[in-house]
Amino acid sequence: MSGKIDPMHQFTVEPLVPLHIGSYDISLTNSAAWMLATLAIIGVFMWGGMKRQVIPGRWQVATEGLIGFIDDLVKVNIGPEGKKFTPFLFSLFTFILVANFLGLLPLAIVPGWHAFTSTSHFSITGLLAIMSFSLVLIIGFWRHGLHFFSLFVPAGTPWYMLPLIIPIEIVSFLVRPFSLALRLFVAMMSGHILMEVFGSFIANGFGSGSAVGFGVGIVSFLFVVGVGMLELLICALQAYVFALLTSLYLNDAINLH
């Protein structure tokens, strides 16, 4: 019983509750449902931790630790003026973190279910990247006006280098939202494809009944355990990198050299 390996099937967006208004399809999809679950988990986590007790319990310490982590990130990378962007970066970080972790849940042991990673779709990560990029643009033009364009001229550049430097800086600035979105989306998708492929190797290897298949199954199993742990690291790391890069870009816009 060797099933065909179809690693892309897990990324299909299916409507759960069909809903049409006019010619628009606004059905509740599994992607939207998993994002709502993400939101619910963050909500419960924050609600349980914001008790403001003088002697904090475990839950409050966990929540405060997460908030303090982002607070430090903002303080180090933006400075005191970045304080008001902490909620934005915190929402971004927690949403990506929880959405990534939810996608790794081994729900597929229940027949007919499978975990869906909303951050493995370019439309979701692209929207997150557009949010942070437009915030950078709005803040930059708000605070510095047209002087914001001096971002493309690094301080202390000799004049004869300007024709070379300015196009490079403009391209590297415009590429930012794509690189932000692409990094998160591809990291999530490639990890899930890898786990799906090697998971199928386990099933097909043990299912084949031969000694070679058994060996392949054992090796694949050990590999999947390792990759699973690596994926947990990547999930946290990608959320951190997204928040870190957004804070660095915001720093460019706020403290224009």
Binding site: L182, S190, L244, L245, L248
Partner: protein
């Protein structure tokens, strides 16, 4: 050679780029460790730069992977 085989070979060649990114990411972490072991007191303050370098090096490998996927599934 028909188009299908050429696509497979092209996707495989594009995947070499991920190995190059692996070299880059290893270099970032290795260099950080070298510096951190010489001056452990200053290491914690540089973790942001460590992950920034990691992210920039990793992105190029992910792009190679994206190209492989594009060759396989889009064209």
């Amino acid at each position: 050679m028909d188009l299908q085989s050429a696509k497979m070979i092209g996707a495989g060649l594009a995947a070499i780029g991920t190995g190059a990114a692996a070299v880059g990411v290893g270099f970032v972490f290795g260099s950080f460790l070298q510096g951190a072991l010489r001056n452990p007191a200053a290491a914690d303050g540089q973790q942001g730069r460590l992950f920034l370098g990691f992210a920039l090096a990793e992105l190029l490998g992910l792009m190679a992977f994206t190209i492989a996927l594009l060759i396989l599934f889009v064209f």
